[in-house]
C-alpha cells in the first residue's frame, strides 16, 4: 500500500500537533501547517527533529520518502488539497467550534477532520457545525511519533464509511486506531490516567510519597507489566489456575475497602502545586527538557524494539507496519537484476544500536548481516513455512571486516552475492553501505540442517532450485575483494 503524495493539514502546532506532523511527514505524506504562534515553526521543527532521530530506526525496513512540509499563514491555503485534517488547538470548546467553522468554509467536504481532544465527546465538538459528520475524535498519545495508540470516537452523525476511512489512514501511519464504543468524557485512557492522577495527588499531599517515589512505584512494578499486557490480561494470570472468575472473587471485596481516596478530590491549591513542582525539580531538574525527551524516546524505542522481536503488544503492530511499507523484492522474480548482488536490507540505524564508542555496536553488524541472510534465504524459498516444515540453514562461520563507522539514524543497505550455493553449503558475501560509503563486509558459510536431527542435510527442491538459479547468475560476478581472507590479511 503506498500512501505517498497525499496531503494532511495540521491545525495547531505544539507538542501534539508537531507529533502528528512528524508522523505524517515520515510516513510519506505532504504536511501543511497552520498555527498563528510565531514560534510554531521552531517548536514543530524540534518535534520533527526528535522524530527523525527515533522513528525511522523503529522500522526494520526503509520508511517511504519523506513528504514535503510547509507552513501557511492562511487557513484556506493550509487545507487546500488535504484529505485529512488534524486539529490540536487548546482544550476550549468555543475555540474548537470557531476553528471548525473556518475549516469547513475552506476544506474539501470529503476530508476527515480529526480532533486531538482529550476530553470532549464528538457530539460536543460537532455542535453547530456546517457538516457535523465530517468531525471525529482522533485522540493520540505523546510522543505521537512513537506511541501507536489513537482513540477514535464517533457520534451518530458520523457514518461508518468515514470512521473506516479514518481507521485506514491511521493504520497506514503505523498507528493503532482504537474504536471507542461510546461517547464519554475523556474517552478511555484519560479516564484511567485521571484516576491515577487524583490518587497520586493525594499521596503527595498527604506526605505518603514524593513524586519520585510514586514514579518508582510505577516503573519498577506495574508499569513494566502494562507495557506489554494490560490490566485484565495481567490479572487473569494473577488469578492463577482458577482463572479470571477466581481473581474477581478474590479481589472484588477490595472495592468496599478504603483503598482509594477517589471519592474525594484534592484541592490543587498553591501549596500543593509548590510541593509537586519542588519534588519534580528534585527528581528530574538535573536534566534539561531536551535530555528528558531524548531519554524517553530512546527508552521507548528500546522497549518497542524488544516487543517487536517478541511480536507481542505494540511490537506486533510495528511488524505489521513493516510488512505494509516494505519495498524490497519479496520474491526472486521481483529482483530487478539477478546477475548483480541482490538488495537484501534497507533500514535506518536505531538509537539503541549505538554503544559507548558513539557508533553502531559490532554485534549489530552481525545482526544486520543476519537479517540480510534471512531475507536472502526467504527469497530462495527457505521462508517461515519451509522452516516450520523442519529444515533451515544454520550459520557455521562468519568473517566481518569493519571498514567504516555509522551512527544512529543513518540509512544503511546490504547487498548479497552467492559465492557458492550447492549441496548442503551456502557461501555468501554481504556488503553493508551507508549511501556509497562501504561500512563493512560480511562473509558467511551456512549449512543446511534437518531441525529434527540438528545435522547437515540436503535442501529440498523448492530451495535447491531457486538457489541454483541465483548461484548460476552470480557465477559470472567477480570474486569480492576480501572474500576468503583470514584475519589480518589485507
Amino acid at each position: 500500500m503506498t500512501i505517498a503524495a497525499q496531503t494532511a493539514a495540521i491545525i495547531g502546532g505544539g507538542v501534539i500537533g508537531g507529533g502528528w506532523a512528524a508522523r505524517f511527514l515520515l510516513m510519506g505524506w505532504n504536511v501543511q501547517v497552520f498555527d498563528p504562534d510565531t514560534e510554531a515553526r521552531r517548536k514543530i521543527g524540534e518535534v520533527i527533529d526528535n522524530a527523525r532521530r527515533a522513528l525511522p530506526g523503529l522500522s526494520d525496513v526503509a520508511l517511504p520518502e519523506e513528504g514535503r512540509l510547509s507552513f501557511h499563514a492562511d487557513l484556506a491555503d493550509a487545507v487546500a488539497g488535504a484529505v485529512y485534517i488534524q486539529e490540536s488547538v487548546p482544550e476550549r470548546l468555543d475555540l474548537k467550534h470557531a476553528v471548525y467553522a473556518d475549516l469547513q468554509a475552506y476544506c474539501d467536504p470529503d476530508a476527515i477532520i480529526g480532533s486531538s481532544t482529550s476530553g470532549f465527546t464528538p457530539s460536543q465538538l460537532q455542535q453547530g457545525a456546517a457538516r457535523p459528520g465530517q468531525i471525529v475524535v482522533t485522540h493520540p498519545f505523546n510522543p505521537v511519533y512513537l506511541l501507536p495508540l489513537v482513540e477514535v470516537v464517533g457520534s451518530p452523525a458520523n457514518d461508518t464509511a468515514l470512521m473506516d476511512r479514518t481507521s485506514e489512514i491511521l493504520t497506514a501511519l503505523g498507528l493503532y486506531p482504537l474504536r471507542v464504543r461510546g461517547e464519554i468524557d475523556a474517552h478511555i485512557a484519560d479516564r484511567l490516567l485521571e484516576a491515577v492522577w487524583r490518587e497520586a495527588l493525594w499521596l503527595v499531599k498527604d506526605g505518603i510519597a514524593t513524586t519520585e517515589e510514586i514514579d518508582n512505584a510505577i516503573r519498577y512494578g506495574f508499569g513494566l507489566r502494562w507495557a506489554q499486557m494490560g490490566l485484565f490480561e495481567t490479572y487473569r494470570i494473577a488469578g492463577g489456575e482458577a482463572g479470571m472468575r477466581h481473581f474477581l472473587a478474590q479481589f472484588g471485596p477490595a472495592l468496599a475497602w478504603p483503598w482509594t481516596k477517589l471519592m474525594d478530590v484534592p484541592d490543587l491549591d498553591d501549596a500543593l502545586i509548590e510541593k509537586l513542582s519542588d519534588q519534580s525539580d528534585a527528581q528530574s531538574g538535573h536534566m534539561t527538557l531536551r535530555a528528558l525527551e531524548q531519554a524517553r524516546d530512546d527508552n521507548l524505542v528500546t522497549i518497542l524494539r524488544g516487543l517487536k522481536a517478541r511480536d507481542y503488544g505494540a511490537g506486533a503492530l510495528l511488524n505489521a507496519q513493516d510488512r505494509r511499507i516494505d519495498r524490497l523484492p519479496a520474491a526472486l522474480d521481483a529482483v530487478p537484476d539477478l546477475a548483480a548482488p541482490i538488495p537484501t536490507l534497507s533500514r535506518a540505524v536505531p538509537v539503541d544500536w549505538v554503544d559507548y564508542n558513539g557508533h553502531m555496536n559490532e554485534a549489530r553488524y552481525l545482526e544486520t548481516f543476519g537479517a540480510a541472510t534471512d531475507r536472502f534465504m526467504a527469497l530462495v524459498g527457505c521462508d517461515a513455512a519451509y522452516i516450520e516444515g523442519g529444515s533451515s540453514y544454520f550459520t557455521a562461520e562468519t568473517h566481518i571486516r569493519h571498514l567504516g563507522e555509522v551512527r544512529a539514524g543513518e540509512g544503511i543497505g546490504v547487498e548479497t552475492q552467492v559465492l557458492k550455493g550447492e549441496g548442503k553449503k551456502l557461501h555468501i558475501f554481504h556488503w553493508m553501505r551507508a549511501g556509497d560509503r562501504l561500512l563493512a563486509t560480511g562473509e558467511q558459510m551456512l549449512i543446511h540442517v534437518n531441525l529434527g536431527t540438528r545435522r547437515a542435510s540436503e535442501p529440498e527442491a523448492n530451495v535447491a532450485g531457486p538457489l541454483a538459479r541465483v548461484a548460476a547468475a552470480h557465477a559470472a560476478l567477480p570474486w569480492p575483494e576480501g572474500a576468503g581472507a583470514a584475519i589480518g590479511a589485507r
Copy 2:
C-alpha cells in the same frame, strides 16, 4: 558482598510465596518452606521453574550458586536458622495474627518477619504480637522473581536498624525496597491500581470498552511510558518548556471535570463478573495459563534487558545488582593464572537471545564475544575512565566459527587469549563454552583509536603496560586451533 549460606523461611506458598522462594534461592539463599497446602510443593516448583527460565539471563554475570530448597510440615523446623521470614498467607487479618503468634514462638527474635500484604498497615499486623517490632510490611509485585519493586512499610514499633537491615537484604536479592513514608491502606502502588481497576470496571459495565480494548488502551499508550518513567516525569515533559508548574496549571482544571466515575463504586454483581470473565476469555482464552506466564516473563525480560542497556529505570537497578554479584576478576592482579587464557565472561543465555531456530541467535555470539572483549579491555586498563579520556579500541575484524548450539537458560563462559598485543593492534582469540562443550570461537583484531580524530593511535602507557604483561604471559601458549584461518578452511 556475598549473601550465600543464609537461610530464609517462606510461610505460605502460592504465586507470591513461590516467587519469593525462587528469588531467594536463585540469589544463593537456602529456603525453608512451610505451607499446609498439599499442592504446595508442585505449585512452588512451577513458579521456581518459571524463575529459573527467566531470571538468570537477566543478569550479565553469573548468579551465585543456587541455595537449598526444603519443605517442612512443622513451622518450628521451617523457621530454624532463618534470618528472614516472608509471610504470604491469605489476606485475612485474624489469620495473619495467628501465624505471627506461632512464628514468634519459634523463630529467632532477631529475624525479620516481612509480610506480603497488599492492604494491611504494619500497625494492624503488629496488633497483639509478642514482639511487634519484628514485623514489617514487604509488599512485592508479581512476578516476584522479575519485578524489582517491594514496598517496605514500618510502624513506630519498628526501629531504624531493622528497617535498614530489611532494605539491605532486599537490595542484595536484586529488589528495590521503596520505603513508604506513612502507613495507609494499600500502601502506594495498589492505591493507584485500585483507582484504575474501579474506573476500568465502569468502562466494561457501561459498554464503553471490552477488557481487551482497555488492555490495548494501556499497552499501546501510557503503559509504554510507565515502564521507564512514571507519571510525574512523563507529565513534566508534557508540560514542555514551561515545566511542571505549567502542566499543573493546564491539567489542574480537569480535576473538577466529570472525567472519572470514581466518586462511585460499581457493584461487582454476577452480571458484571460474567461480562468481565467472558470478555477475558475471548481476549486471552486461546492461551493456557502457562503460555501466558511465559509470554509475560519473556516480554518482561526483553523490556528489562532493553532498559538495562540504557541504564535507565529498572535497568539501572539490574546493572547495580550485576556489580554486586560479579565474581570474575576485576583487575589483572586478581586473575589467578596469567599464563592461561583469561576468564572474561560467565552468564546464562537470556530468553530473548533465542531465534526461530530455537537456539541462541548468531548475532548474540558476537554480542557475547564483544562483552568478553570489553571485559578484557577493562582488565588491561581500557575502562570507562580511559575511554572518557578520549581513546578506545575499535573492532576491525571478527571471525566466528559456530561449533555448537546453546539454548535459553544454559550457562556460558568465555576465555580469552592474546595472540598479539603491541602498538596499535590487539589480536585476541575467544573460546565460548557451555560447561566443557565448545560452542564457538571468536577471533578479533582490534585497533586502538583516538576518539577525537577517529584514527588509529598508540595506546597510553596505562594500557600498553598491562597489555604487554598479558601478551608476554600468553606468548608461551599454543596457537589456538582455528586462529588465522579463512572461512571454509577446516
